[in-house]
Every structure is written in structure tokens, then in C-alpha cells.
Amino acid sequence: MFELQLGPLGGASVFLAFGLALYGAVAGVIGAARRDARLQTSARLAAVAGFILATAAVVVMQAALLTNDFSVSYVAGHSRIASPTWVKVVTMWAALEGSILLWAWLLTGYTALLAVTAPLSPLRPYAISIMQAVQVFFLGVLAFIANPFKVVPLPPLDGPGPNELLQNHWMMAVHPLLMYLGFVGLTVPFAYAMAALITRRPGTEWMAQTRRWTLTGWGFLSGAIVAGGWWSYEVLGWGGYWAWDPVENVSFMPWLTATAFIHSVQVQERRRMLKPWNVLLIVATFSLSILGTFLTRSGVVSSVHAFGNGPVGPAFLVFFLLVTLAAFGLLAMRWDDVKDRADLDSVVSREGSFLGVNILFVTLTAAVLLGTLFPLIVEALTGDKVTVGAPFFDQTTLPLWMLVLLLMGIGPLLPWRRAEQQRLSRNLALLAAAFVVSGALAWLLGVHKVYPALTVALAGYNLMSLYLLLSGALAPRLRLANRGALQVIRSYAVESRRRVGSMIVHFAVVIIALGVAFSSGYRVDEQIRLDFGGSAEFSGYTLTAVDRFMERTPARISAGAVIEVTRGGKPVTTLRPRLNLFGEAGRTVPTPAVYYTATHDLYLNLNSSVGPDTTFVVLRVVKSPLVTWIWLGGAILLLGTVYSLGGGRRTVPARAVAGEKREGAPA
């Protein structure tokens, strides 16, 4: 009897998708070189067909996970019958092979979308071919090195289930998805940049066509980083959200270069400058995302939450080196086409400030890269094992972050080309006043630590900057219009979505900066022993351990304490920090309970076990101010990005540079 087996079906889909990617990559380039429209079209069709096949592979994987088909190696190795359905679905990206499948699938999806929607241009065939070449790598890894669809001849009766830390929070369903959407989204501008170099068209065409892709990718990546921070906060039990762990760093570095990129491209759009910067930044973004995958999947740098050693390490290393060599080699070959012909008119100008952004963000990237690789470098040279901890990263990056905030306030107020002395002086005076007043206010209110106080001062300064930007744009419109103020504001918000979007994002950055400064600067962290029935004071709160509890679901056993929180005798909340045990083989995962407020969080994590005979618990209690602002800021940032994306296709408005001055500074 013939029986449909999911393993071979998924494997065949991956293999065919690999073949199509290979075909598309080759046919597209030959088609473009020979100007053969039929070949080009066939490559685009291959992109669409590749997506359909990759989707089939994902559907097969999901079917195998949901039906507990342990004859599929990935399911046998990482899934478990007792897991709830949502965990089974996200198990697809809970381990190495599945996460590469997800990445490959998203990549084929973006490529197909590009093949269908990208406007006809000399760049398009090359860009799609480059996307397909990247697909060849990912699908090749899936087909030949880390095949998740291997057939298990004697399927086990159940599997171990995914990593406990990943089962413990729904955010795990979201974070990797966002991360890969970000990485894959930023592959599009990379592909177009390469196409621009190949075709010797390094003008604004490639960035105009990828503006939305870039912003989308950047938005997803930003969301992924905030989501990852939140996950770590809610799951890891130390009351923090960022530890400068290599895994975090490698997701952060592409974000840094991508952030520089989305600023820097504007200079090329308006002034045809910084071309080499833009190509360098997008190449760096793409190769850093591959580097990050290599570092975390190969065990080359040790990290608390790497996927561990696998055979894919060398493959990613070779791909990283190939990409870097090819991209930089191409750039070197085309240097004469790319290099800027114009010089800055003045450093004190919009383009000057964007150049500053580039330099700052590249320096930040270099610092993070150095800190991440330093242990490896030392070990290679001397054989000693060293670690680089948070203090290094804090000390090197904090002053740079302050400069970023400084530049973020002044940059958008500077006009293109050259600032007029008079306007500039007035704006500077107002900004300085806001800086001094908010800094002094913070000091008087008891913020006596340098960085938090400086952050408050810079926040006030940035809010002033946003006010000046808005009033500068709205005042002349209000004066000229004979409509109501609300209508004028609404029409401005609709017309200038990019600009308004960027203001929203910058506002979000201010919020996040305050959240980070205060939650790290004024965090109170204590270990408290509580007898059941007993109470303890903590930072204005009274914590009473009223009870213990135990819950059992098919997937897990939870044991925890019921802690009543009161303040000044009034009940505030009841928190249930717990330990979760997933499956028989599982580790216990402490699961903190958090009381969120607008000004601070109360964070309880169980540091001792709870059983029927337990008479006391040990709690780690953390109070950190303004943590919520980080998540809120993250949401606002995404909102601003989405708002900015909605802004029509008029990517390069045909307005004269002189007209820009009016927008840049209040009249």
C-alpha cells in the first residue's frame, strides 16, 4: 500500500525550490546581460514558483508538527505531543533547521513579491537574481546540510519538545518571525545595491525602488529587538532586558548599520552624495546579518542562548566570506562610478548631520563588533579565555548614544547645503535652553547620576527640537491657509508622511532612551526570604507570602507562591511568580511575575523551589523605573515607521532644495 509520507514530500519541495532558485539566479543574469526578456520573465516566474514550493515545505512541516508525525526528523527531535497547539506551530523556528526553513521561506516570499511588484528597470533582473542567489544558499543548506525532513526509519513515540525557555512565553512566537522578516527585508536593498553596482547605475534609482523594503525591514528588525528585550525581561528572571550577550549583539549590529543607512540614503536622494557610504552600509547590514547567524549557529562565540554547534557553521562562514568578498570587491571595481563628485558645502547642514549619523552608528557597530569578537581574537592570539561583559559595552557606547541623541535633535532642524546663521542661532538658543532647563529640573528632582540626568536634558532638548520642526512646518501653512488649524494639521500630516513619520520615530527614541536610562540607572535589586504568612518591606511596598500553588497541565507543571503586594496598607496587586517544568526531561524555568506601572515595574522572581512542604520562598525583587516606556516607545516607533511607509510613491519629490529650507527651520 502506498502511504503518503510527509518527510519525503517536504524534502522534495525544498529540493525543487532549490533547483528553481538556482535556475532563476542564472537565467536572470544571462537574461539581463543578453537583454532577453523571455529569460528574465522565466526567472521571475521561477521566483514565484519557488515561493509556492517553499510554502509547500512549510505547510508540510506544520502538518507534521500538528499531527505529531515523528517520522519527520525535525518533529522527532524538537516537538512533543503534550505541547499546546501554538507551541507546536512555533516549534518550527525553535531549533536550527526549522529556523533556516522559516528564513528561506520568507526569503522566497519577498523574492516572489519583488518579482511580481517591482517596476521594470535595468536593475530588476539583477536584483531578483541576487535574491535568488541568496535563496540558493539557504535552500542549499536545508537540502544538503540541515535537512529538517529526514525520514526517521523507526519513529519515536514522542519527542522531547522545544527548548523550555521558548515554550515559556508567547513572545517567542513573535520575536524570531520579526527578526527574520527584518533580515530578509533588508536583503532587498542589498540586492538592488549590488544590481546598481553591476549595471553601473549607482544613482538614486536603487534606493528609490527599495525605500519601502528598507523601511519595512528596519521596522521589523526594530520590533524584533524590542520584542526580544521584552521576552528576556519576562522570561529570564533577572529583571533586565539587555545583557550585551553575543546573540543580542549580532542582531543589534545590522540594526545599527541599517539605521545609518535609512538616514544616509536621504542625502543621496537630495544631494547625490554619500553614495559610497550607502553601498557600504547596506553591504555591511546584509553581511552582518549573515555573520550573526554564523556566530550564533556555530558555537564560535559562547552565548547563553545560541542554538549550539551544528554542521551549518562552516557553510555560513563560507557564505559570509563570499558575500563580503564579492560585495566589497564589486564596490572596489566600481569605485570610480560610485565616489562622490560633490563635497559638503558646510558641515553645519542637514547632509553634514547625516554624515555625523553615519560616523556615530558605524563607530557603535565597530565597538559592539569588537566587544563581541574580542574573546575570540584573544584566544586566537594567546590561547587565553576572556569574556567581555556589559561594563565594556556600556562604557564605550553610552557616550556615543548621548551624541546620537544630540545629533537627533539638531540634525532635522538644519537646512540642506548650509545653515543661515540667524535662524541657526535662534534654534540653537532654544535647544540649549530646553537642554539646560530639563537637565536642571531633573537635578532638582533628585536625578543625580550623570547619564540619566544627561538623558533627561537631551530628552527636553529633543522635544524642543520636535516642537520647532512642527511649528516651523505648520506656522507658515496656518498663516497662509484660510482653513481651521485642525484641517491644516491634518493635511500636513497626510502630505508629509515621511517627515511626520520620522518625527514620531524620533519621539519614540526619546521615550526609549528615558526608559533605558532610568531602568538601568535607578534599578533596585534585592533578594528577600519570605516565610509563608510573613511579610517584608521593599522600596515602599509590603510583600506578603500568603500561599503557594501548584498547577498541572498536560504540557507543564507549575509551582509558585502567591504574593500579596500592598502599599501604605492598601492592596496593590497579587503576584504569582512560579517555576514551570515542561515535560519530564525539562529544566525548570523560573517565570517572573511583573506588576507594570507607568513609572516603575515591580518584578518578582522565584529563586527557591516550592513544594507541598515548603515553608518559605526566596524572591528576587527588582524595582526598575520606566521600563514600560521602552515597550511603549517600541510601539510608537513601529507606528511611526508604518505611518511613514504609507507615504505614497513620491519618494523623491521634485521640489527645489530651496523649498526645503522652509521645512527645515521655523520662519
Binding site: 527531535g77 558555537g299 557553521g313 568578498l325 586566537a380 526531561a585
Partner: protein
């Protein structure tokens, strides 16, 4: 100028490549090589219920203590563990070779609470001839300081743990360890 730029890129990329190649080749600190405090110490004793098919030969329970005096292979497994399915036939084959030479094998199903039906299916599928017991509370696994399943311990005739193997055991490992124990 162009040549020197290209050369610079080549040098930098080669240096990075060399650094990472070093990182890969140096080998990763593999925690599977961690030694056990048990090595050289007496094997922790246990008495656990046997699956029914072994009752005629061994009775309803299996006690490690009763088998001191002969070399022992103690193998921990679970019904959800993929590599355990790979090693089970190897263990069965080794049992057929070394059982007659006086080596006692015992399989301990652990981290598998109340999975008796699954345990029976596992044993039946590989027709395991050596006795298998269920460590329902996984406490014996704790006594033996399990890293994970599968894991195999070798105990000499004096009852001392002489070696352990984390991960699926191979015929070569069994031959090597048992060859030494029988010498």
C-alpha cells in the same frame, strides 16, 4: 590604486576568515565531555519494577545490588528520545554477544512518567532481551547525575562505575569498554 584597494579587501576578509576558521576548528567546549563524580565510585544502587516480559527470568523488580560481581551496562533511555531509538538495536546486539560472556545489561526508562504503554512499545519494537525497568520518578536518574538521555554507564565487577557515555552508544564504544571490563 584599484589594485591596492582590492588587496586590502582581500587581506581583511582573509584575516576575518582565518579568525573564524580558528573559532570553528578549535572545537567547541563540548559539555558532553564533562566527567562525572561517579567515575571510580560505587554505582548508586536501585530497585525498580521490571516490565512484565522479564518477570519469568528476573522477577518483578530488578536490583542493581544483586548483580554486583559481574560487569554491568546501565543504559538510560526515554520513549520520546530520538537517539535512543538509534542505539536500542545496537544495545540488543551487544547483549546477544556479551550476555553469554557474563555481562549484565539493564535498561532504565527515565524522565518518562507514567509512560508504561510507550515503554512496552519501545521494548517490543526492538525486542530487547535484557531487562528493562521504569524509573517513574526519575530519581535514579538523579542519583546517577544524568546529563540527558540516552546515557550509558559501565560498572565493573567490583561495583564501581568505570566509564560513562553521553549520547547514543555505538558498537565500537561497547566493544572497547566491555573488552576492557572482561579482560
Amino acid at each position: 590604486m584599484k589594485a591596492s584597494r582590492t588587496a586590502l579587501i582581500a587581506i581583511v576578509v582573509t584575516a576575518i576568515g582565518a579568525l573564524f576558521a580558528f573559532g570553528l576548528l578549535r572545537g567547541n567546549p563540548d559539555d558532553r565531555n564533562i566527567t562525572s563524580n561517579l567515575l571510580g565510585r560505587p554505582a548508586p544502587g536501585f530497585t525498580l519494577p521490571l516490565y512484565e516480559r522479564y518477570w519469568p527470568d528476573y522477577g518483578e523488580t530488578f536490583s542493581l545490588q544483586e548483580h554486583v560481581g559481574q560487569p554491568l551496562v546501565v543504559n538510560f533511555w526515554a520513549s520520546w528520545c530520538l537517539p535512543c531509538y538509534d542505539e536500542a538495536p545496537i544495545l540488543q546486539q551487544a547483549w546477544q554477544t556479551y550476555g553469554p560472556q557474563g555481562v549484565q545489561f539493564v535498561g532504565i526508562q527515565t524522565q518518562d512518567r507514567d509512560k508504561r504503554d510507550e515503554g512496552r512499545t519501545f521494548i517490543a519494537r526492538f525486542n530487547l532481551g535484557f531487562p528493562n525497568v521504569l524509573d517513574n520518578d526519575s530519581l535514579v536518574g538523579v542519583d546517577w547525575a544524568l546529563y540527558g538521555v540516552p546515557e550509558t554507564f559501565f560498572v565493573d565487577a567490583s561495583g564501581k562505575v568505570v566509564a560513562k557515555h553521553i549520547g547514543p552508544v555505538t558498537a565500537a564504544v561497547l566493544d572497547q569498554q566491555l573488552g576492557a571490563l572482561l579482560r
